[in-house]
Each structure stands twice: as C-alpha cells, then as structure tokens.
C-alpha cells in the first residue's frame, strides 16, 4: 500500500509495478481475492437482470418478429399456391369446355349432314319415280300412237291398193278382200 504510489508514477523499470489502485496488496489483479466478493455480487445482479430482460422481453420480441415473418411468407406462398390452383382449375375447365363444344359442333355437323343427305335421297327418289311415271306414260302414248298410225296405215294401204287395182284393172275390188290381203301382207 505504501510503495504503490511511488512505484506507479516513478520512472523505475519493473514489469509488475503496482498501479495506484490503493487498497490491493501487490500482485496479479485476477488473483486478488479481496475483489472477488464485489465482482461476484455485481455479476450476480447484472447477469440476473440480463437473464430476465432476455427471457421476458428480448427473445419473445425478436422470436415473435421472426415468426411473424415466417408466417407471412408461408401465408403468401399458400395464397400463391391457391391462386395457381385456381388458375389451373380455370384452365382445365376452359379446356374441357372447349373439347365438349368441339364435340358438340362435330355432332351437330354430322347430324345436319345426315339429315340433308336423307332429304336429298328422298327428293332424288321422288324425282326418279316421277320420271319413271312420265316415261311409262310417254311409252304408252307412243304405243297407242303407233297403233293408231298402224291402223291408219291399214286404211291408207287398203285405199291405195283398191285404187291401184282399179287403175290397173278397172275393176273396183271388194273392200273386204282387199283388207284381208293387206292384213295377210302386214302379217307376212
């Protein structure tokens, strides 16, 4: 205690000069047991204060902030996933709608084509029948005309034969025998 003042201020060399700490007996400060009680008491007080601050205020606060951020990120990701799912579902619905519309269009087209084909077929058939009927009528007319013409030919032939015979022989032939001769030649 006595030598400490002079030792610290003086220009004497000496690696372990005691500083003007006054009341310590010389030596290495970390091993001075007189300071232990003060250090232990202050450490106990401040460490307990720190522990209480840390456990009651600081960690819940910072942990809460980190957790809130985590929740926010997870919520946002979930929201994004939900929106993505929604858009996927909308896309799927759109594609389904498109496919069914296409199928419906195809069906309508086929149906219309078939209906038109059937109609055309029916019209064609009716027309053919009509034509066939007309043809048959025309053939009948031709046949009757021919018959008439033939019978006229017979009459004309009989007249002509009668006249020819009269001119050649001067005898008027019997109309009945002329007709018979003509019939015979027409058949022959």
């Amino acid at each position: 205690m006595a030598e400490s003042h002079g030792g610290a201020k003086g220009p004497t060399a000496g690696a372990h000069t005691e500083a003007d700490g006054g009341h310590h007996g010389g030596g290495f400060p970390p091993f001075e047991s007189s300071t232990f009680a003060s250090q232990l008491v202050s450490l106990a007080i401040f460490f307990v204060v720190l522990y209480v601050i840390v456990s009651k205020l600081a960690l819940p606060r910072i942990g809460g902030a980190i957790e809130a951020r985590q929740n926010k990120i997870e919520g946002d990701l979930a929201e994004a996933q939900k929106l993505k799912d929604q858009s996927d579902a909308a896309l799927k619905a759109y594609e389904g709608e498109l496919a069914s519309a296409r199928a419906r269009a195809q069906a309508i087209g086929n149906e219309t084509r078939e209906k038109l084909n059937a109609q055309a077929e029916a019209e064609r058939k009716a027309l053919e029948e009509q034509l066939a009927a007309k043809l048959a009528g025309a053939e009948k007319t031709i046949a009757s005309t021919r018959e008439t013409a033939m019978s006229n030919v017979r009459g004309i032939a009989a007249d002509a034969a009668g006249t020819i015979v009269q001119q050649l022989s001067g005898v008027v032939p019997d109309a009945a025998s002329v007709k018979a001769a003509i019939d015979a030649s027409l058949k022959g």
Binding site: T17, P30, A37, Q39, L40, S42, L50, Y51, A65, I66
Partner: protein
C-alpha cells in the same frame, strides 16, 4: 516511461454498495462494464424494430437470435431450447463484454477468473441439477460409456467422472486465459511503440512501425478471439446440457 501490461486488469472500486460479513461490496469498474454489456444487449434486442423487412439493428438482433437458436438445436436438440434464454444471455454477455473490452482504456469483464468461474459453475450446476431432476439416477449413465469391456470400465469411469468435474475448470480457464493473454499481448506490443518513440527518438519512431503494425494485426485477432471465445463458451454449454437432456450416449 513504463507501461504496465497488468494495470488494465486492476479492479477499481467506484463506490461502496454495502458489506456482507467482513467483505466490502463495491461498485467497481468491472461492475460498470457489466452494466455496459447489459445495456448494449438490451438496446440491441429491445430498441431494434420488429418490422417485416428488418433494418440494420434488427438484422443484428435477429442474426444473434438465429445464431444461438441454431447452435442449441444442432448441439443439444430441440429440447435444449428450454435453455435458450440462459445460453443466449451467456453468449451475448461474454461476446459484448469481450468486444467492448477491446476498445482502449476499457475493462474486460471476462479477464477475471472469478467471473468466468462463476459463469462456468452456473452452467455446471445447471447441467448437474437439471440432469438429475429430469433423468434421476439414469443421469449418471454418462459416466458409463457403452461398449466398454468390463475390465477397463472402472478406469474409464474414473476418467469420465474426473473429466466431468474438471469441466468447469477448463470451461472457465479457457475464456479467462484467452482474454487475459490477448490483452496482455496487445498492451505489450502497443507499449513497445511508445517506449521506442520516447527512448530512441527519430529512430525509435521509425522502429515503432513494426510493433504498431503488429498491434493492429493483434487487434483484429482479438476481435476474432472475443467472438470465438463467447461462441466456444456457449457451444460447450450446449454440449454439456446435451448430457443432461440425453444421458447415456
């Protein structure tokens, strides 16, 4: 001119608080720097915002939180999170007081064995009491490793028990010695600069460049050591607590 590298470790009473028995309890420079450490930690953890996008201070607070939380989870498992406030307090207290101690003319709380020993004993008794409370006598399985042949088991058990009770010693001396030695080395090299300049004049000033450069490098090293020793102290606490949480492997 002499520079005493030990002077920085002196405990100076600032005022007396009271008496316990025949011990005088004083508010010392050590108490002041403990208060500074507690104040710095409180400001960091309480004044930082709790924004969704953190600012600088909030980032530091959150990184500290995540750092300690990850350390506990990977070394003591999820059950270790019970001790999160304790380990966080230990880590931040040691880290901040070490870092503050690097500033010239300040005092380093953890350069005193009594402080580191008190912290190490706190961890030791936490492990011991919680281990016995949670596991009962099964806790003492940590002294009986698996797969050891019977005839060397007594020897192994003796070594295990010895190492268990020496834990607080190594735990505290490691931190104390690192901080003490680092600060002495810094002070010695910084002292060379001044001594050379004063005693040798111009040549001394030029010669002082070398120890000055070394002081700068040592300061950087001490910054690393200040953090690293806090980390080592905290991670050893986690490993010791792991024994209390999961004895028998």
């Amino acid at each position: 001119m002499t520079i005493d590298p030990i002077h920085q470790f002196n405990i100076e009473p600032l005022f007396t608080i009271g008496h316990i028995g025949n011990h005088t309890i004083a508010f010392t420079n050590s108490s002041l720097y403990m208060l500074v450490a507690v104040a710095v930690i409180s400001i960091l953890m309480l004044a930082s915002g709790t924004q969704l996008v953190p600012g600088r201070l909030q980032s530091v607070a959150e990184i500290s939180y995540e750092f300690v939380a990850t350390m506990i989870r990977s070394n003591a498992g999820a059950e270790g999170m019970k001790f999160f406030p304790l380990i966080f307090s230990l880590f931040m207290f040691i880290c901040v007081s070490n870092l503050v101690g690097i500033i010239p003319y300040t005092f380093t709380v953890s350069s005193h064995l009594i402080v580191t020993a008190a912290l190490a004993l706190l961890v030791f008794f936490t492990v011991l009491i919680y281990g016995v409370y949670k596991n009962g006598l099964k806790f003492f399985k940590i002294f009986v490793p698996h797969g050891v042949p019977g005839y060397i088991l007594p020897l192994v058990m003796f070594i295990e028990i010895l190492s268990f009770f020496l834990r607080p010693v190594s735990h505290s001396v490691r931190l104390f010695a690192n901080m003490l030695a680092g600060h002495i080395a810094l002070k010695v090299f910084a002292g060379f600069v001044a001594m050379l300049g004063v005693s040798l004049g111009a040549i001394g000033w030029i010669g002082g460049v070398m120890p000055l450069a070394l002081t700068v490098a040592l300061t950087a090293l001490e910054l690393l050591v200040a953090f690293l020793q806090a980390y080592v102290f905290a991670i050893l606490t986690c490993i010791y607590l792991n024994d209390a949480l999961h004895p028998g492997h």
